[in-house]
């Protein structure tokens, strides 16, 4: 029996190279032919792709909405400043002195006086009550000092201590801080990001099952081919390759369609969001899916789809035994 080739065979290198080339060519062929097969049944393929894309876009849309809200609340978080409304009888000069004192304070980053005239001007410009305000004969607004604490908002004890100290100053009528509101919002956002993870997992499973089922039908259609390939000595690895590539294409193309859906959705809401943002000093800009997020999305959808195809093909190929 001469199964082993002598090692000094002058053609062995060439033959190995040719085999490797054949292996690569086989993969390229699998990649292209599976795409060709999808295009040969355009209606079925389109239905599957749309179902997949809708599932993916739901997850992606939820993700980008929460990411936008997080960015928005992130901006709010930065403004942990306190507003000190001064008593009516405190003059502008006295307010300036008080602010100067605050600047020396260890727990305060900065302090700015907003005079009642400035406050009135701003209120007139932004509130839309300009004409009504003209009817007033005197300015009802107090002088105000905006204090920016050094401590971050999450250092509750320090913020709380500063707050108590400021409240005890006799010239101060009232101190306002939006801390509670912000921490409640943060708690809501934490729930939202966790929901994104849960929805993501569920819709990821949907992608696995939808592709799995599509590939199962495809495998059933090509049963005869699989059977003949097995009879001429094809390994399961060889037979499953085109099906895995088909799954890959489904995941990839559905990912691109999902991206288009989400981007269109963002384009549609952009102008109302801009209007809202302008009402809040224009600090917020709508975030789209970034390039790296898009790449990550495609990687995830194609991986999940390949996983779904693999599970089905791996299981079914064991069942198909030549009769």
């Amino acid at each position: 029996m001469k199964t082993m080739k002598p090692i000094h065979d002058p053609h062995i290198g060439h033959r190995l190279a040719e085999r490797f080339q054949a292996y690569l060519l086989n993969h390229v062929h699998g990649l292209l032919s599976s795409l060709g097969r999808l295009s040969r049944t355009p209606f079925t393929s389109a239905m599957t792709l749309l179902v997949l894309a809708i599932a993916i876009s739901l997850a992606a849309a939820f993700y980008i909405v929460v990411a936008n809200l997080q960015q928005m609340t992130g901006n709010l978080q930065a403004s942990n400043q306190m507003s000190l409304f001064l008593k009516d009888n405190v003059s502008e000069a006295a307010a300036g002195k008080l602010a100067e004192q605050f600047r020396q304070h260890g727990g305060i980053e900065s302090a700015n006086v907003i005079t009642r005239q400035q406050a009135m001007a701003e209120f007139k410009a932004h509130s839309g009550f300009g004409d009504a305000l003209k009817a007033l004969d005197s300015n009802p607004l107090p002088n105000l000092i905006q204090v920016q604490p050094k401590h971050a908002l999450d250092d509750k004890a320090a913020v709380e201590a500063l707050l108590t100290e400021l409240r005890q100053i006799p010239q101060v009528e009232f101190v306002q801080i939006d801390m509670q509101w912000v921490s409640r919002l943060q708690a809501v956002m934490a729930i939202a990001s966790r929901s994104v993870a849960i929805v993501g997992v569920l819709l990821g499973l949907a992608v696995i099952f939808i592709t799995g089922n599509t590939i199962r039908l495809e495998l059933q259609d090509r049963r005869n081919e699989v059977y003949i390939a097995k009879l001429v000595g094809a390994t399961n690895g060889f037979i499953q390759r085109p099906f895995l590539y088909a799954g890959f294409w489904l995941g990839l193309i559905a990912g691109v369609i999902a991206w288009i859906i989400v981007t269109l959705m963002l384009v549609i809401v952009e102008s109302p969001v801009e209007k809202l943002s302008s009402l809040y000093d224009g600090s917020f800009e709508l975030m789209y899916i970034s390039f790296s997020e898009f790449m990550l999305l495609l990687m995830m959808t194609s991986t999940l789809a390949v996983l779904g195809s693999w599970a089905v093909v791996h299981y079914q190929l064991r069942q198909i035994k030549p009769q």
Partner: protein, 218 residues
């Protein structure tokens, strides 16, 4: 080349299909397997092609015990076999060339090698020049020759043919048999299941007869 030793095959619902079958095939031998339908011819071929597993006994092919070959090894063992069927089992949506090339492609041959060997195989069965045609555009005899080309393209050690001439007229059948004789002459072992007794007797090769699952003449 191929040795059966006390091989039994029992189906859970249909009882014993083969009972205590023992025989040996030499390299380059051409053997006919005869018997009435239901005598166990197809079962015997399926055991060699590893489409079924023997219940008892042992089967040794080309120095390897294949009685309980694992799913992982079966593809590589099948590459040493050339299988031919009564219903040809061709892929009708692929060209003649692609059908014949399939065994070479699944075993990873380079495309130049594939093209060369497919042409050589088609030349041997007299179908050179019909590579681009589709099987259904050809006659029954030509379709069976595609099947034969596919079986020999991988240079198998053993050709198994299950009623290869079952659907063909006597002239075509004789032609197919002459083809098998040529393979035998280059050292390939050929095992043909057939009940075309007249043709078999005329050719005068070794004959094994099955009757109700037992080998009555070897």
């Amino acid at each position: 080349m191929l040795t059966f030793e006390n091989v039994c095959k029992r189906y859970p619902d249909a009882g014993e299909a083969l009972t205590d079958v023992s025989f040996h095939l030499q390299r380059g031998e051409m053997v006919f397997l005869t018997g009435r339908s239901g005598a166990g011819k197809s079962t015997l071929l399926k055991l060699i092609a590893m489409m079924e597993q023997a219940t008892r006994g042992s089967i040794v092919f080309d120095g390897q015990n294949i009685t309980r070959a694992s799913d992982g090894k079966i593809p590589y063992l099948r590459r040493k076999l050339g299988l031919i069927f009564q219903d040809y089992k061709l892929l009708n949506d692929r060209t003649v060339f692609d059908n014949v090339a399939l065994p070479l492609i699944v075993s990873g041959h380079g495309h130049q090698e594939v093209a060369r060997r497919v042409r050589a195989a088609l030349d041997k069965v007299g179908l050179l020049g019909k590579e681009r045609k589709y099987p259904l555009a050809l006659s029954g005899g030509e379709q069976q020759r595609i099947g034969i080309a596919r079986a020999i393209v991988n240079k198998p050690k053993l050709i198994l043919a299950d009623e290869p001439t079952g659907n063909l007229d006597p002239d075509l059948s004789a032609e197919i048999m002459r083809m098998f004789e040529q393979f035998m002459q280059v050292g390939v072992t050929v095992l043909i299941a057939s009940h075309d007794i007249k043709l078999i007797h005329r050719l005068g090769h070794r004959e094994m007869m099955l009757d109700k699952g037992r080998l009555v003449s070897a």
